[in-house]
Amino acid sequence: MDELAFWRAQHAHGRIGRRELIGRAASLGAGAALLGTFGGTAPALAQDVPRRGGTLRLGLGGGSTTDSLDPGSYTDSVMIDAGHALFNALVEWGQDGKPHPELAESWEAKPGAVEWIFNIRKDVTFSNGKTLDADDIIFSLNMHRGNTKSGAAGVFREVADIRKLGPNQIGITLNGGDADFPYVLTDYHVLVVPNGTTDFSRAVGTGGYILEKFEPGVRITARRNPNYWKKDRAFVDAIDITVINDSSARLNALLTGQVDAINRVDAKFVRMVEKNPKLEMVTSPSGWHSCISMMHDRAPFENHDLRMALKYGIDREQIIKAVFSGHAVLGNDQPIPRTDPYWNPNLKQIAYDADRAKFHLKKSGLSNPAMVLQCSEGVFPGDVDLAQLFQQSAAKAGLHMQIKKESADGFWSNVWLKGPFVTSYWGGRAAATQMLQVAYGPDAPWNESHFRNPRFTELLAAAKAETEEDKRRPMIWEMQEILYSDGATIIPVFGIWLEAHSRNVGGHTPHAGFDMDNGWIVEKAWLKS
C-alpha cells in the first residue's frame, strides 16, 4: 500500500477528515487520484445508530483447545475478544491511540511520573453480585507480578509497589518515571477479576456479557449482563464465538451466513469480499510489524555500513506485493506505525537501491561476509517467503546470504534472541515509548538486536519521565531517527488487519492494536436488523 492509499484508507474509516485527506494527497501531488474516493463503499460509520438485540456470531481464527479463561494466559484473538466481553480493564486503549477511563475513572501522576494514583469507579458489580473495590484491582494487578506465568509479566516489571489508598483509590509506585504508564494497563492481559480468584474454570467479571458456555478451541457463548455499568456499549443480547482456524473455512462461514463477522481474511480473497454485495471489508492498519533483526554487537553486523547495505538491499515494495498481496504498509526500520500520534513523518522512506547497497558494502571493507538468516513459518505465515525475497534482492546488490529454515516448533525458545540474524515480529504496543522500551531498551530482555546507543538510552528515560507533550514529541522523534539510521533491525512492513462482516453488522471499526477492533468488537458492534 502506498502513501496515498494509506491516507485514503484512513479517511474511509473516519480517522481523518476529507479536508485533511485532500491536503495529504496534494502534498503527494496526487489530488486527481482521489477522484472516486468520496462516496465509496467503505463502512459509513458516522450515520449508523447502534441498535440493541440479536446474537452477534463471530468466526475467529486464533483459538486453541488449550485456551483458558485466566486473563494472564491469553495469547490470541479468540481469548482476547472473549476477555473483552467477560471482563473490564482499568484503562481502555482508544481508537484515537489515547488511554480512556474504564474501571479506573480517573488518574493522575505526581511530577516525574513515578507515583500514580488511580480512582476506581464506584457502583460496579461483578457477575456474582460482589461490588468492585480497590482490593479486587490490587489482586488483579498483582496476578502479573512476581513469580507468575502471565503474559503481562514483562510490562509489569516497572511496577515497584501497589497499595490501597482508600476503598476506591489505589497508588502505584514505579521503578522509574513512565508518563505512559496508563497504557500498560490497557494490555489485554490486565483484566479485573474478584479478589482471591484462583478458579478460572468460571469467569466472574464486570464485563458486558456473562459466560454461558466455554468449550476451548471450539466455541464460547455469553449473554448480555443486564446490569452492565456502561450504558453506551454491549448492544447485542448474546455473543457466540466459533473458533475457525482454517482461513477458507472462516470465509465460507461468512459467505454462507453462518457467522456475522470474521477476522484475518486471506489477502488473496480481499477483492472477492469487496465485490460481494452482502459483505464489507474492514482494513485496519496496525502496529504489527515484521522484523529482520541483526545483532548490533556481533560480527559482521556490528559494521554500520553492512547494516546500511542490507537496509537498501531489501525490496519492501516487492515483499508487500508478493507476501501480503498488497495489504501491508511500508516499514522504515523504526517500530512506530503511522497510526501512532508520535510517528515521525520526517524520515525519508528507504527504498530498494542495489547501487547504494553496493556502495555501502564496499565502504564496509568486508568482502563476502558470512550471513545466515534464520527464519520460520512459525514466525508468521509468509515469513520464509519474505526471507527468500530478501535473499534474492540482496544478492543482486552483491550481498550473499544463506537462509536457514527453522522448525516452527520451538522457534521462540531456541532461535529467537539466540541467533545473530533472525526474522521475527512485534505486535503493536499502545504507547510509542513501550514499543521502544520493550524491543530496544538497553536492559530489555527482548532486545533482539542487542541494540545499545547512549543517546537513545538517555532519550528513552527522559521521554518516559516527561509528561509534557511538546517536550516528549521531539525526544520520541529522535529515537525513531536513531533506530532508522543506526539500528540493527530491518522493519520491511507494518501489517494491516483484514476483517470482514456482513452488511447487517454496524460498529465494527478498525483499531491500530489487535484485530477485531483490538477485541472491542464484542462491545462496540451491533446488528442492524
Partner: protein, 315 residues
C-alpha cells in the same frame, strides 16, 4: 474360537503398550516445550521457569512416563498441562463427535460401496462398470479437503442447501446434528467408498473364476444370484479387512476434514495438543487412536475367520 479371540486381545494389549512408548518418545524429542509453546515471545526467563516448575516439566522423562502409565491403568488420564482440566473430560465430547461422524459416514458408505461393487461385478466390463470405476478412482485421487471445498462451494455457497460449518455442541439435538454434519459425512463417504467398492468387485471377480461358480452357472442360475448367493460370501474376508481399515481411517485420519468443516473432533484436539506440547492429551489421543486401529483390525480378523467355515470348524 474363544481361545483365538483371547489370544488376539492379549496381543492387542501388548501392541498398545508398545504404541504408548513410541508416542511418549515422539513427544519428548520435539524441540521446545509446553512452557515456551504457550508463552511464545511473551516469555521471560522467570515466567518460563515458573511455568515449567508448575507443570512438573523439570523431572526426568522416564519417571513421568511410568507414573503416567500407572495412572492410565487405573483409568486416570491425568490433567491437561495447558488447561489444567482433566484429560478425560477434554476428550470425551471430542471422541463422541469423532465416533458419531465416523459412524454416520460408515453407515452410508459400507452398504452403498458393497452394492456398487456387486453391481460392478455383475455387469463386469460394461458401461456401468467402467463409469463407476472412473468416478471412484476420481474421488480417491482428489484430496479430501478439495472434495470438501467443492461440496461447500456448490451445496452451501451457491445453492445454500447445507451449512458449511459443522459446529455442533454437546446439546445440539440429534436431528440438527445430522444436518450440520451432512457435508463432512458426505466428503468422507466419497473418500472411503472407492476402496471398499473396488475391493468388493475385485474379490468377487476372483471367486467367479472358481470351478464351483461355473457349476452354478451350468445349473442355470441367473448371474446376479450366482454373484450374491455363491460368490459374495466366499469373497468376504478381504472385503472385511478393507472395511476395517477404512473405518479406522474414519476415526483417526479425518483431521483435514475436521478443519475444513470446523468440526470439533479428536483430530483437531490432537493437533492443538501437539503444537502446544500438551503431553497428557497427546498421549491419550494417541492411545485412543492406536486402540481403535488394533480393535478394528482384530474384529476384522475374527469376522474373516467366522466367514470361512473351514476356519470356523477346524479339525
Amino acid at each position: 474360537m474363544l481361545r483365538l479371540i483371547a489370544q488376539r486381545l492379549g496381543l492387542g494389549a501388548l501392541t498398545l503398550l508398545a504404541a504408548s512408548v513410541l508416542i511418549f518418545a515422539g513427544t519428548e524429542i520435539l524441540p521446545g516445550d509446553l512452557a515456551s509453546a504457550i508463552l511464545q515471545n511473551n516469555a521471560t526467563p522467570e515466567s518460563l521457569a515458573e511455568m515449567r516448575r508448575e507443570l512438573g516439566l523439570d523431572r526426568p522423562a522416564p519417571v513421568r512416563y511410568v507414573e503416567w502409565l500407572g495412572h492410565v491403568a487405573t483409568g486416570d488420564l491425568g490433567r491437561s498441562l495447558a488447561s489444567q482440566r482433566p484429560v478425560a473430560r477434554e476428550i470425551a465430547p471430542r471422541l463422541r463427535n469423532t465416533l458419531f461422524l465416523a459412524g454416520y459416514a460408515a453407515v452410508v458408505a459400507v452398504p452403498v460401496a458393497l452394492a456398487l461393487g456387486l453391481m460392478a461385478a455383475i455387469w463386469q466390463g460394461g458401461v456401468y462398470d467402467r463409469a463407476i470405476n472412473f468416478v471412484t478412482l476420481l474421488t480417491i485421487a482428489i484430496p479430501e479437503y478439495l472434495v470438501g471445498y467443492i461440496l461447500i462451494k456448490y451445496l452451501s455457497v451457491r445453492l445454500g442447501w447445507l451449512p458449511s460449518l459443522a459446529n455442533v455442541t454437546p446439546d445440539t439435538p440429534l436431528a440438527t446434528r445430522f444436518v450440520l454434519t451432512l457435508l463432512p459425512a458426505l466428503t468422507l463417504v466419497l473418500v472411503v467408498i472407492a476402496h471398499m467398492m473396488r475391493m468388493t468387485r475385485a474379490s468377487v471377480l476372483q471367486i467367479m473364476a472358481s470351478p464351483y461358480i461355473e457349476m452354478a452357472f451350468l445349473k442355470g442360475l441367473p448371474k446376479w444370484r450366482v454373484v450374491v448367493r455363491h460368490a459374495f460370501p466366499n469373497a468376504l474376508a478381504p472385503i472385511i479387512n478393507v472395511i476395517a481399515l477404512d473405518l479406522a481411517y474414519l476415526i483417526v485420519g479425518v483431521v483435514v476434514v475436521e478443519a475444513v468443516f470446523v468440526y470439533p473432533g479428536l483430530g483437531q484436539l490432537l493437533v492443538d495438543a501437539v503444537s502446544k506440547h500438551d503431553v497428557p492429551v497427546v498421549q491419550a489421543c494417541g492411545l485412543i487412536f492406536a486402540a481403535a486401529f488394533i480393535l478394528l483390525n482384530m474384529t476384522a480378523d475374527v469376522l474373516a475367520i467366522m466367514s470361512n467355515p473351514r476356519l470356523r470348524h477346524p479339525r
